[in-house]
Symmetry: C2
Subunit: 269 residues, 2 copies
């Protein structure tokens, strides 16, 4: 199996995103290895040695995705036995020509604490944790969005992702069995109706997920799951709450759809 | 201000990572606009119109970062008035030659629920939530890592990031004021000593963060913060627990360093 290295003087998150997006186009498996924080000549020489050993062992050169900006370090990595894919290099010159500005490469450009958005994101995580699962219903004034839905429809991971990635303060409130007899919008949500976003899920998928957690419970019974889904979808339609069926979507897709439908302002790009 | 569009038939997370990494090299500001899920010819024509209007308004062509795999849709976007940066295109042919395999482009390659790692990630988020802030100390058997540290040293956001991004089950346990009189490792942590990773933080930064939350409290007092930091660092050294000072690092950097120091297995690349 071919080894792919993702290397950077920072977190290597960008190298990974770049390399992974490319390799996912190929119908084969790779061994992945990330090496972040290669910030010194010594460390770079060590990494080069490691790549060379991998190449020697497998007879096929390793693939090396990197995003170095420091030239001395980059040259060391570029001189390894692997095949180098440097996406910054390919695009910097055309962008300089278009923008009529010289690039000013510096390390830790992305994913560092110095981004303006960083404090927003940590504050948003604190908010999402404090307002998870209806644990507090008095803080909705501060919410950017309030995710509602039945238990296990994806509210918590989506709220956390919105907070961590985008600095969006997302509360979440679950409609539970007790609410279900003629489900109405709870009074404490009414003043914030414009912030509500509903999640729903196919009953069969909900049954599977709940059964996995609490086998043979009323909570996981087909009858209960079907009823809950029916009730929340009726509520969304009656109250004109925008909503999304999460059955086939990842948390990245759910949150991208929420952002695109609501036009919520992001604090991080 | 120049507008940068990030467009894709999926979440557009890859286009954003790619465009943002490039634009962050330039010492100027951009207006960012993400348009995900451009999956039909109609939607593509709508987006093209939107880009063209933006170009006409600002007199400077917009920058368009995209990762389309569907040719019909890509050609529509490529025919807009913006300047196109398509990073897949530049690298696919060299990779095909190196791998001696043809690329098989398909939509939703990355960031979809069909990744093998998806269920791990959701399970890990559930685990991190259930084992946040020492709320349960009986589940550490299942942890991949247990983050320890004083209140507000970065444990919760780091644990959530490890779970959401990498599918790693990270519990976190806070050392509080009550523990501080001759701080020892609590008995329930001792069997899991190999899973422990300590966070620490400069006392002054801790004072600032805590003062922001609870002004003029004992919790935020310089004396208290200095004592807590001193005690946990002593504990880490005595018990040989690997640790990291988080003061200058983002959650991405903290987790990248934890992964790189511990060699923890990731479930997602």
């Amino acid at each position: 199996m071919r080894t792919a290295f993702y290397i950077s003087d920072g977190t290597a998150i960008t190298s990974e995103a770049f390399g992974h997006a490319l390799l996912s186009l190929f119908p084969t498996e790779f061994k992945h290895q990330t090496i972040p924080f290669v910030e010194s000549v010594e460390k770079a020489l060590e990494v080069k040695e490691k790549i060379n050993k991998t190449c020697a062992r497998s007879k096929e050169p390793a693939l090396v995705f990197h995003t170095f900006v420091n030239n001395d370090i980059r040259e060391i990595i570029d001189s390894c036995d692997g095949v180098i894919y440097n996406f910054l290099e390919q695009f910097v010159t055309p962008l300089e020509e278009e923008l009529k500005i010289k690039a000013k490469p510096k390390a830790h450009r992305t994913h560092s604490i110095h981004e303006n958005s960083y404090d927003y994101r940590i504050e948003a995580v604190n908010y999402a944790m404090a307002n998870d699962d209806g644990s507090k219903v008095t803080n909705y004034e501060d919410a950017d969005v309030i995710l509602v839905g039945v238990s296990r429809s994806g509210k918590t991971p989506s709220a956390l992702y919105l907070a961590l990635q985008y600095g969006i303060k997302a509360a979440n409130y679950p409609f539970t069995d007790e609410d279900m007899d003629d489900l109405q919008l709870p009074s404490f949500l009414k003043p914030y109706k414009k912030k509500l976003f509903g999640l729903t899920i196919d009953a069969q998928r909900l049954i599977d997920i709940r059964d996995n957690r609490m086998s043979n419970s009323k909570y996981a019974s087909p009858r209960q799951c079907r009823m809950e889904v029916r009730e929340v979808e009726k509520l969304y339609k009656n109250e004109k709450i925008p909503f999304l069926n999460t059955t086939k979507f990842s948390v990245e897709e759910i949150t991208a759809k929420i952002l695109s439908e609501t036009g919520l302002q992001r604090y991080k790009y």
